[in-house]
């Protein structure tokens, strides 16, 4: 919503600059018309990531050029419009940055000739869309809806990414034109079904097909220029674009045909019913966008020349009238402060240019002659009638949807301006020319193309059909008068039906309330998001308990399980322990070590536990003595005594262990036995193999002649492996620093 009365100047250069950029791009793209209408394509490529075979490759053919012209052309008008619409908005700089970035990303998407590059731009449109839907970031609803769109299309995008990787693998290249050049050969690949499903998930979420449709009406939380541009004319057609792009290689199979036809038709009918249900004009338009996307998807499910021509035409028709009508609604909103259908009336004289645009665009949307919408609708009917399996049902569905859309078009484009029964809405703000220009230009174009369809026939429609089928001869003629045929009768039936729907739309709207009883996916989404969080919290609180004993138990269990399982699965060499050397002293030593350990585990007193560990330490020192390493034994003895004394001193400072449960914990015993037992087992296995004495021999021989020391251990410590000792010295010093820091803080804390 505009923060201040819109002016034509808006934000000055900040608004005009990007508009000029878009216009320049539009003119530049127009320059490709001769090449493309001749059935050629222009392409560039530079290597980007050679390791992965990804090139920055771009290609302009009929389909790309149609999209590029729509994006840059509508982009020009929307940027011009937004500059005035958001007059006085303090965050316009960000807005225009996002909107321009979006436009460039969208252009990149439709021009990319590399699957991965296409994906990169695909996600850039997702991000910019997120930022734009969340533009009114102070509102909880905007934030939620932005996230919903991001999450849903993001999920689809990840599926598409997997599909793109598999497709690239199957085709041996990411270059789209090379993939397409292989024709339908890809359909024989064993991964084809998976690829198709993944691509569908990406395309159908992005283009908001049932059951992924619900994010799109919510995306209307964005400012109206955004809705006109992203969520109607361009971004939501990215999914449609992807399907169209891959149509030559991937269409024709049953999965393709039935998925797209059924989802497309269901979306179209369902959305047109819901469109009539809305009272907010912007919401009504959002649902008609869904209907249009459904129609496009359904058409892409087919192969016939009629369906392809209808797709190419309807794509252009819809972008023109729908962007125009969104901007019209924006003008109504800016002028009166409301978008509610029942509050709007009598505005025809006050907003003449807007009213003119609304009328022209509305009639195109309704599919009346002589507008382009009429031609689009006729071709669509013709395309449906070509469908082999169920033409009648499809045509009836399309008839129903088109009738409803006619009624909605009347509600949106005619009623607020001309209905005699509506109250006159007071107008607060004037609409500057910059905001009238967009809708008028778009609506007039729709009229001109309707009267002179030849302008589009060979320039854009035929090249697009070429992109879709590989055969330009498939293109059907765009004609206002195609003779007396079935599509004509269907058109006439549409007008009658639409007229009836409009006449009874208030009643119908009330009746359509029963649709609310259908499962509400939007609310289900909230529950889904909440359940993610609930599940995450439940799981995490079980894992990250905060209790040290749990952490210790899991860590030691992992050690024990890992070692034991590997021993069982991978086997150990035969153990050959020899008890020949065992003396009574050894046995006594073992007894000492075991009893110390056992004592430490069962005692309830800290001091006793420390003393018991000291016993173990001394036992180890004795082991060293018996196995002729007296210097190591001395060190061990010294350390052991020091540790016991120091820890005992610390212990005296600690409070007594009181509520320490004196119970046997079998779980802990098992873990301890597991760790100790498995390590012992491995040790025994290793001792059963001969030791490689290369290092020992070297140290023995080199110690005196080369390192000038007779005590080999010392020489190892200070010469052979001096770097280790250096590191250990650092450890001791740092330990001292850390202890002092801790003590000092402790003292400060107390004082």
């Amino acid at each position: 919503m505009a923060a201040a009365a819109p002016t034509s100047r808006g934000h000055g250069l900040l608004g005009y600059g990007p508009t000029a950029l878009a216009l320049a791009l539009f003119i530049w793209f127009l320059g490709f018309l001769p090449v493309v209408s001749a059935g050629q394509a222009a392409s560039w490529a530079v290597p980007w990531i050679p390791v992965l075979g990804i090139d920055l490759a771009f290609r302009i053919d009929g389909l790309s050029l149609t999209f590029a012209l729509l994006i840059s052309g509508i982009g020009t008008l929307v940027l011009l419009y937004a500059n005035s619409y958001l007059t006085g908005d303090p965050q316009f700089d960000r807005f225009v940055l996002f909107l321009t970035s979006f436009m460039l990303a969208m252009l990149g998407l439709v021009l990319a000739d590399d699957l991965i590059v296409l994906f990169v731009f695909w996600e850039l449109t997702t991000i910019t869309s997120y930022l734009l839907i969340g533009y009114g970031h102070d509102s909880e609803k905007s934030r939620r809806n932005a996230l919903q769109a991001l999450f849903l299309t993001g999920a689809g995008a990840l599926a598409f990414l997997a599909g793109a990787i598999l497709l690239g693998e199957a085709a041996g290249t990411y270059r789209i034109s090379e993939v397409l050049a292989q024709g339908k050969a890809i359909q024989d690949h064993p991964h084809f079904t998976a690829i198709l499903i993944l691509v569908f998930l990406g395309a159908l979420t992005k283009s908001a097909q049932v059951p992924f449709h619900f994010w799109l009406p919510n995306a209307m939380a964005a400012p109206t220029p955004v809705s006109a541009f992203l969520h109607s004319a361009t971004m939501v057609k990215a999914g449609v674009y992807l399907l169209a792009r891959l149509h030559p290689a991937m269409s024709g199979g049953d999965l393709w045909l039935y998925t797209l036809t059924i989802l497309g038709v269901v979306t179209a009918v369902f959305a047109s019913l819901l469109a009539l249900r809305q009272t907010d004009l912007k919401q009504a338009l959002a649902y008609t966008t869904l209907m249009a996307l459904g129609t496009l998807v359904m058409l892409l499910g087919q192969d016939s020349g009629y369906a392809m021509t209808a797709f190419a035409t309807f794509l252009i028709v819809h972008s023109l009238y729908k962007a125009a009508l969104f901007l019209v609604v924006g003008n109504l909103d800016a002028a009166t402060g409301t978008r509610e259908t029942d509050a709007l009336g009598g505005l025809g004289r006050v907003l003449p240019m807007t009213a003119l645009a609304a009328a022209l665009a509305g009639m195109s949307m309704a599919g009346l002659p002589p507008f382009l919408g009429f031609i689009g609708k006729e071709l669509t009917y013709a395309g449906m009638l070509q469908v082999a399996s169920f033409p009648v049902i499809l045509s009836i569905m399309a008839l129903l949807a088109n009738g409803l859309i006619l009624a909605v078009a009347s509600v949106v484009a005619i009623r607020p301006f001309w209905s005699a029964r509506q109250p006159k809405t007071p107008v607060k703000n004037a609409i500057p020319w910059t905001m009238a220009a967009g809708p008028v230009v778009l609506a007039v174009l729709g009229t001109i193309f309707g009267i002179m369809p030849g302008l589009l026939q060979n320039t854009l429609v035929a090249p697009t059909v070429l992109s879709l089928t590989g055969d330009i001869a498939e293109t059907k003629q765009l004609k206002l008068w195609a003779g007396v045929n079935l599509p004509l009768f269907l058109s006439l039936a549409t007008f009658v039906l639409g007229g009836l729907f409009y006449a009874w739309h208030a009643t119908l709207r009330a009746r359509l309330a029963m649709l609310d009883r259908l499962p509400n996916l939007d609310e289900a989404w909230d529950r889904f998001m909440a359940s993610i969080k609930t599940f995450a919290i439940a799981l995490t609180s079980r894992i990250q308990t905060g209790r040290m004993t749990d952490y210790m138990a899991v860590t030691f269990s992992t050690i024990a399980i890992g070692l034991i399982a590997t021993v069982l699965l991978r086997g150990l060499p035969p153990l050959s322990p020899s008890f020949a050397d065992v003396t009574p002293i050894h046995l006594a030593l073992i007894g000492l070590l075991l009893s110390g350990t056992f004592m430490a585990t069962i005692t309830r007193k800290r001091i006793a536990a420390i003393a018991a560990l000291g016993v173990v330490g001394i036992g180890v020192a004795l082991v060293f003595i018996f196995f002729s390493a007296p210097d190591v034994a001395i060190t061990q003895l010294l350390v052991e005594v020091l540790v016991v004394v120091l820890v005992a001193i610390v212990m005296l400072q600690l409070p007594r262990l009181r509520d320490y449960p004196n119970r046997f914990r079998p779980g802990h015993a098992v873990i301890a036995a597991g760790v100790g037992g498995s390590v012992t087992l491995v040790l025994l296995a290793i001792l059963s193999t001969p030791l490689d004495r290369r290092l020992t021999t070297f140290f023995e021989t080199a110690s005196w002649p080369e390192a000038f020391g007779r005590n080999i251990v010392n020489v190892i410590l200070v010469d052979f492996r001096a770097l280790d000792t250096f590191g250990e010295v650092a450890v001791v010093v740092v330990a001292a620093i850390a202890s002092i820091a801790l003590l000092r803080q402790n003292r400060k804390g107390r004082s």
Partner: protein, 499 residues
Amino acid sequence: MSWVLVLPLTIPFVTAIFAFLFREQSAGRWISVAGSAALVAASLVLLVQTIDAGVLAAQMGSWAAPFGVTLVADLLSAAMAVITAIIALAVSVYALADIDADAERAGYHALFNVLIAGVMGAFLTGDLFNLYVWFEVMLIASFGLLILGGKPEQIDGGVKYVALNLISTILFLTGIGLLYGMTGTLNMADLAGAVESADPGLLSVVAVAFMVAFGVKAALFPLFFWLPASYHTPHFAVSAVFAGLLTKVGVYALIRMFTLVFDHDIGFTHEILLWIAGLTMAIGVLGAAAQNDIRKILSFHIVSQIGYMVLGLALMTPLALVGAVFYLIHHIIVKANLFLIAGVADRIAGDTDLSRIGGLYKSAPFLAVLFFIPAFSLAGFPPLSGFWAKFIVVKAALDVQGWVIAAVALVVGLLTIYSMTKIWAEAFWTPHPDGVDPSLATLAPATRNALVLPVAGLALMTVVIGLVPGGFMSFAETAANQLLVPDAYISTVLEARVE
């Protein structure tokens, strides 16, 4: 040329000594900055020379391998050294504003530089026992840093950190003993050859011991408890350097040992790693979804992202290892940066608990941009570095028909978006609950520069890696080839001239 290998290890120690001597004056912190800058230069020289030579090795104390300790750099080690130095520089600049005088007096800069030295040592050593020594250096220095400030939750986190890491250290030492008993050598290049004559079953058991020991360090499932228990408690500079580097040393050690030494039974060891990778990704990201504090969210995401790197190792194809290497480099930059940004948000908005802050998008747009880049990079959005990292790993999984693990990687990516947008929506988009407009302008210019410059620099690196990933990926490819075919590594270490 042994000095190029020795300098990256010496510089932080020397810096630590001088920073400690001058800890009472402001000179101490500038010594730390200068030392880190010198470290960047030294490690870049190392990288350049390694690229030229393939592998560099130096025999410490002039004792020929395998009798002494060898320092060695292949492309992976050299790259890790550079990235460590860069993080060290970024964090020491950030510390100018983040670390209070009390912590400095307690020896912050000395501890920090010893930590960096330990990390460097771990990346550059070619000796298994020496690696253990650097692990100990890192452990004690990081413990010191963790408890600086002495808040109760710091002590609590510190105790868990140190106790669980000590288990890992002891197991590591046990593993070294076992491996030495089997082969009679500690030199890793020498081990690569020596294990060939070892009993394969026994070797697998020892491999699992190492896997668990390094798994604790790398914070793999189910061994990661110490990380979320402690990383949200210390100074922001400290948690940033931890987040960037510590777990990655564990991952590095896994990659090194499980490409060089334990590659005899890939069908077993790397299959375990594959499962662990999937679980680590999933459990980590769900842990993040349960949090409501920026640093706690980010901490769990470290765990989750480690899973992707280990997945690269587990798949063990050339492309998968490219992914692991690329992921390591990308992740260190991004994750350290996010913790630094959390500190800035805390400084100007007053907290890191998402329910207590907000409004940063409106009144601190520059910070919003700086957060957006690493956050969406972490979430794997193109064309940022994280996208390519994820892309390679997922592609590597799909190439070997690893449908399930590829699906896990993708869904975890989606949940990463969930967490990053949670921070974005609540800290940035939602108005501040106290009705204030947090702004960078409220900071003193010197403070602001010290906090924002490193963040901006790291964000810029993320963008550059994302936009021109070709060179980085070619580098990662060469590094991965060195890992898969370590002949040059082994021969260089064993034949390096004694000077």
